[in-house]
């Protein structure tokens, strides 16, 4: 394998692994803000307890998110040096702004969020939680803006030629509000809310099934259910809007998502299917002309197909883009269905008697995670063969100084470390969940004992 494919695999591995955690931090952050807000408002101790419990889980996801995030920032330079030189002028200000406004805000207040329960008043603690959550939301802004600029570049001009070619910023706000950034940012935020909400519902549904912390779990489940209902429906809107944008700005990507080749024909919308790139056909179940209707409200309207692009300008893995896109959409629909079903029983006051539904909610935690990953895979693979759409090819973006052996070394190292990290994360997550919301009282006792022993020995 050559440097290009190895570097792509490594980037995909490290970014996909990283992306397990930040959405959880953003989603859990929102729910913790609601919990602490309810505590300040009602003074009911149950909200305080659930907020403390979720803070412990938040700390776990946040810690791994930071550590794996630093890898991403430096990997641009280590593996994609030409890309970094090309985009630095444009991309750099977004990244610098992320560091100074967002990352510093969240990490600064994180200490108080986790360690400050006994040191600051509930009001200050609420502000710290809000600060951490807003910081994580801002991080998403700048990083999605930067990625969106790669999809739909704007507010720049290209200077220099060959090795020295680079994009220079001409209009900061045009760069920030490039054609796809708002749609993609809202889509990412809401995907994160869903990841957080479904984790909270999963854990509390499990407690309810086990008959543990029943009063607390019912309230916490309720909070997360409302977040899930609003978020899953809103996701339909942002997703649709995003697709309309892709149709205008990246027609080759949209065509790959639905496996559409013939530019003169109406485009179908598939529920599921398989793309044969040799014969340029899709085998599957779908609505004929469905994509045409969605985009132009006309089942007959022609949609630009992959045939309009020379082979070297088409995404390399059309079937993969198609599959990832359809997995994401299918899960999105499932999340709407589950949330509405939950809401229906909630209004009838019988939600917590539906053990079968609670069991589904326990397992459903995996769904938004898969959808988030699949969405990014289809977005990024659909952008190929470009790293900056229409301007810089992925194959031209590599580091000149790096050899395949070096990337093999780092790829194997990251694979081993991340496998270990994932195992530890799941182990500790499970442990914290098993320990439950009242754990800290026992912990208090235990640590006091330890201190006594420490003082004696």
């Amino acid at each position: 394998m050559d440097v290009e494919i190895l570097s792509r695999i490594q980037f995909a591995l490290t970014v996909a692994f990283h992306y397990i955690y930040p959405p959880l931090s953003i989603g859990l952050g929102l729910i913790m803000v609601v919990m602490e807000g309810r505590y300040l408002w009602t003074k009911e101790v149950v909200y305080h307890e659930m907020a403390r419990f979720w803070t412990r889980i938040f700390a776990l996801t946040f810690g791994i998110g930071v550590a794996t995030g630093i890898v991403m920032e430096f990997e641009f330079g280590t593996n994609w040096a030409t890309y970094s030189r090309y985009v630095g002028d444009v991309f750099g200000s977004a990244l610098a702004a992320e560091g100074i406004f967002a990352f510093a805000l969240e990490s600064g207040f994180l200490g108080i969020l986790i360690f400050g329960w006994n040191r600051v008043s509930p009001r200050i603690h609420f502000i710290a939680t809000l600060g951490v959550w807003l910081g994580s939301m801002f991080s998403a802004v700048w990083i999605v803006v930067a990625n969106s600029w790669q999809q739909t570049p704007a507010g720049f001009h290209v200077v220099g030629e060959g090795m020295e070619a680079r994009a220079e910023i001409t209009d900061f706000w045009a760069m920030v509000f490039n054609p796809s950034s708002v749609d993609r940012l809202t889509h990412v935020w809401i995907g994160a809310f869903l990841a957080g909400a479904f984790l909270v519902m999963s854990v509390h549904a499990w407690y309810l099934l086990k008959n543990r912390y029943v009063a607390l779990s019912k309230r916490a489940f309720g909070i997360a259910l409302w977040v899930a209902v609003v978020a899953s429906l809103a996701q339909l809107l942002t997703g649709h809007h995003s697709a309309e944008g892709v149709a205008v700005n990246q027609p080759a990507k949209l065509a790959a998502m639905e496996g559409h080749f013939d530019s003169l024909a109406a485009a179908d919308m598939y529920l599921m299917g398989w793309v044969n790139t040799e014969t340029e056909t899709v085998t599957g179940i779908g609505i004929p002309g469905g994509l045409s209707f969605l985009l132009y409200q006309d089942f007959e309207a022609p949609v630009t197909g992959l045939g309009a692009f020379p082979k070297e300008d088409r995404p390399g893995a059309v079937n993969a883009v198609f599959q990832f896109y359809h997995i994401m959409v299918a899960i999105g629909m499932m999340l709407i269905g589950l949330s509405l079903l939950g809401l229906y029983f909630w209004f009838r006051g019988r939600l917590f008697d539906q053990r079968w539904l609670l069991r589904i909610f326990v397992l459903a935690v995996i769904l938004p995670q898969v959808a988030n990953q699949a969405g990014w895979f289809s977005a990024e693979m659909g952008r190929q063969p470009w790293v900056v759409y229409g301007l810089l090819r992925t194959s031209d973006a590599l580091s000149e100084a790096v050899t395949a052996n070096q990337v093999w070394f780092s790829l194997i190292l990251f694979s081993v470390v991340y496998a270990l990290l994932l195992a530890l994360f799941l182990y500790l997550l499970n442990k914290k969940i098993q320990a439950g919301p009242h754990h800290h009282e026992e912990g208090d006792h235990q640590s006091r004992q330890e201190e006594r022993i420490g003082a004696i020995s």
């Binding site: 791994i64 630095g88 200490g111 910023i169 208090d444």
Partner: protein, 344 residues
């Protein structure tokens, strides 16, 4: 070319990047140093206290690295890209150690078993030393220069970053951070642990003075290009003189039990030493040992004036905010460490 206070934008941004990396070295320096000393503490209770002394702040400290890296990427894209790809293996190891360190801190307290805590203690300490060493190795190579050719290619063997000079700078960095971290811990501990830390501080100070002395001597004798600036402008000798006085002041303050001031001066030492590096290099950022025409200086590497202008504005708005909440966090957790149910 636009200027502020007589400095052009690339020079200003060079100062911003330098300031951020100094901030990072001062802040993460003390928690890396505390990590380096970790295994010298034997008792579980001592280790817990030492770990919790950096517990609420290490993550915020590491953010300075993220901001510094971002600022380098944004302001001098070719330097960021060339440095990181030319030093591929050290940076990958550095990243892996950053991960190990984070998870060691996060996971050690989660299980009571001895072997579990011992494993994470070793991982925490080794990664802390490794990070400090690699940072020094990168700095040493930057001081020496790279065999940089046209088209940003680098000549030579992929292991050439492990040269004696770079290792010497790496060792000095470990020693400096160990001393800096020990001073921090004296402010945060009491009783027998304090006495132990005090002893470690003495040894770390000696270790630093010796390794730094040898490195300085080697630099003066064998790497003449690094003293060119001082020969041209003797007024710059103020800087090494200040660094020397600052270092000499540390043991004096420690023997007077003024630990807060000692910490101030060890922070100042870190800043002054990086200031020396900046003066020695400027305006070059990446020196080519093959030909000066391949070297990257601030003007050749700088982003456009438009981009730098935007970023200077962002920095001007952001810096007071960052300083304000950093100060607030340190103030909240001021004083000696007390363990409670939220501790590691």
């Amino acid at each position: 070319m636009a200027t502020i206070l007589g400095l052009d934008y690339p020079t200003l941004w060079f100062l911003v990047v330098g300031g951020l990396f100094s901030g990072y070295a001062i802040l993460d320096g003390f928690d890396l140093g505390a990590g380096a000393l970790h295994l010298f503490l034997r008792k579980e209770q001592s280790r817990r206290l030492a770990l919790n002394a950096v517990g609420p702040v290490w993550d915020g400290n590491e953010v300075w690295l993220v901001i510094g890296g971002g600022a380098l990427f944004a302001g001098f894209p070719p330097v960021y890209a060339t440095l990181l790809s030319a030093m591929y293996i050290p940076f990958i190891l550095f990243l892996v150690l950053i991960i190990f360190r984070a998870i060691s801190i996060e996971f050690r307290s989660k299980e009571p078993m001895r072997w579990w805590r011992q494993t994470w203690d070793i991982s925490y300490s080794v990664s802390s030393v490794g990070i400090a060493l690699l940072l020094g190795v990168v700095l040493g190579n930057v001081l020496l220069g790279f065999p940089l050719e046209s088209g940003y290619r680098v000549r030579g063997h992929w292991l050439q970053f492990l040269n004696p000079y770079a290792l010497m700078v790496g060792l000095s960095t470990v020693a400096l951070f160990a001393m800096h971290g020990a001073i921090y811990l004296t402010m945060k501990t009491e009783g027998r642990l304090f006495v132990k830390i005090h002893l470690l501080l003495k040894r770390a100070t000696i270790f630093f003075v010796v390794s730094f002395g040898i490195t300085t001597l080697y630099t003066l004798l064998y790497i003449p290009h690094l003293s060119d600036q001082f020969k041209q402008a003797p007024v710059l000798f103020v800087l090494p003189l200040a660094a020397f006085l600052s270092i000499a002041n540390i043991p004096r303050l420690v023997s007077r039990k003024q630990y807060g001031w000692a910490f101030f001066f060890s922070s100042l030492t870190v800043a002054l030493l990086l200031g020396l590096v900046a003066v020695e290099l400027y305006p070059v950022m990446l020196l080519s040992t093959i030909s000066p025409e391949y070297s990257l200086d601030v003007y050749r590497a700088a982003a456009s004036e438009k981009s730098l202008g935007i970023m200077l504005l962002i920095a001007a708005i952001g810096a007071p905010l960052v300083l304000a909440y950093t100060a607030f966090v340190f103030w909240t957790f001021k004083g000696k460490v007390k363990l409670d149910d939220t501790s590691y």
